[in-house]
Symmetry: C2
Subunit: 221 residues, 2 copies
């Protein structure tokens, strides 16, 4: 189904902020579809979800002509387009590296499955965890088998949830196993090998924006 | 130490993207300080951490005159300034709402303590968890005691890690207990009461930017 000659958006021309916004639009469209809404204008979409209408039009125009004059966007159609742009039109197979509390929580996070991500395996070093499974049934394997399993299970994305001191060696193992994209929850510095896309989630940044809000007078006194 | 008449940055004039960048600068300065670096130019800071020098200068200039011509920024000084701007010059007391895997992982997340956030309590409904504690020693209380405990423990921020179907009622309880800022990890729609700042972390968005990367040719075939 891929038409190589019509590809409009090489990843290096589209910033991560844009893809984050596309994800958010997709989330809004999901809600509209659930609410039975068939069409929506960029203006109404912006108002309902506290977004910017001009930004929506610009972001979407980059990938094609999705709006219909006088109608706006067809919710179902735009949703399918966005899923395709974001590469969500196929199942993506995900392994969670580290089966501690965070790893287990991520393996069972209900949002992932809903958007087409399939958590197929967890990996850990602890003998008492290997062979066990998460609450939702994701099996835990020995991290020494990562290379073998990553091939067998066709892992697309690794989610790292290991202690800071283990992060570098686990990342290197994942890359050696052929995993091309990593979502990293481990804090601390890390050297990113060539040929892999790593996205770090620093949970502290989110807390600090709340701290800023409180410091600027949100204290209610 | 607060000089109210010189306050330059009411929270509604500074976007969340800016505060997120300030957090990231702070993280970089921490690393520079650990590495023994005394001064750094915006240019060098940008190069070393893949940031934008003009953006750094603009973000910082908004809050004051921190750079020194011919020197750049004093790492220690700028770090203290940023901590103050972000409201991190005092301990912030955090409660985690929900003591499942995610709640427990967040309660024990080592990054929080390092930046001055103190996780003082978890709350849950499950009788077998109440009275227990997380691996790092955060006690778990009955969520019905949230109001009483939030006062006694002077909770500044609530971190919500409950199932989607419990999110709204737990948020309402937190607000009723006087918590003014919420970091929300629960997926799904939620009505935000007036007078509270809620920041939602949607872990799926991060995964989708990796999916986009893979879809655009990161597959390595």
């Amino acid at each position: 189904m891929k038409s190589g000659n019509k590809r409009k958006a090489p990843s290096d021309q589209v910033s991560e902020l844009t893809t984050n916004r596309l994800s958010i639009y997709l989330r809004c469209l999901n809600r509209l579809e659930q609410a039975g809404v068939d069409t929506i204008s960029s203006q109404a979409l912006a108002e309902q979800f506290h977004l910017n209408a001009a930004q929506i039009r610009k972001d979407l125009a980059y990938f094609g002509e999705f709006g219909v004059r006088g109608v706006g966007y067809y919710v179902k159609d735009l949703k399918l387009h966005l899923r395709k742009i974001l590469g969500l039109d196929r199942k993506l197979r995900v392994a969670v590296l580290g089966a501690g509390n965070l790893g287990q929580a991520l393996a069972d996070y209900p949002g992932f499955g809903r958007e087409g991500f399939e958590i197929v395996a967890m990996f850990d070093t602890a003998a008492e965890k290997i062979g066990d499974q998460s609450r939702s049934g994701v099996p835990i394997y020995d991290i020494r088998d990562l290379k073998k399993m990553a091939r067998r299970e066709r892992i697309d994305i690794g989610v790292m949830a290991v202690p800071a001191e283990a992060a570098q060696s686990v990342l290197d193992m994942a890359v050696a196993a052929g995993v091309k994209a990593i979502l990293n929850f481990s804090p601390g510095a890390i050297k990113i090998p060539l040929g892999v896309k790593l996205k770090s989630v620093d949970l502290t940044v989110s807390l600090e924006s709340l701290s800023f809000y409180l410091a600027q007078g949100g204290e209610g006194e």
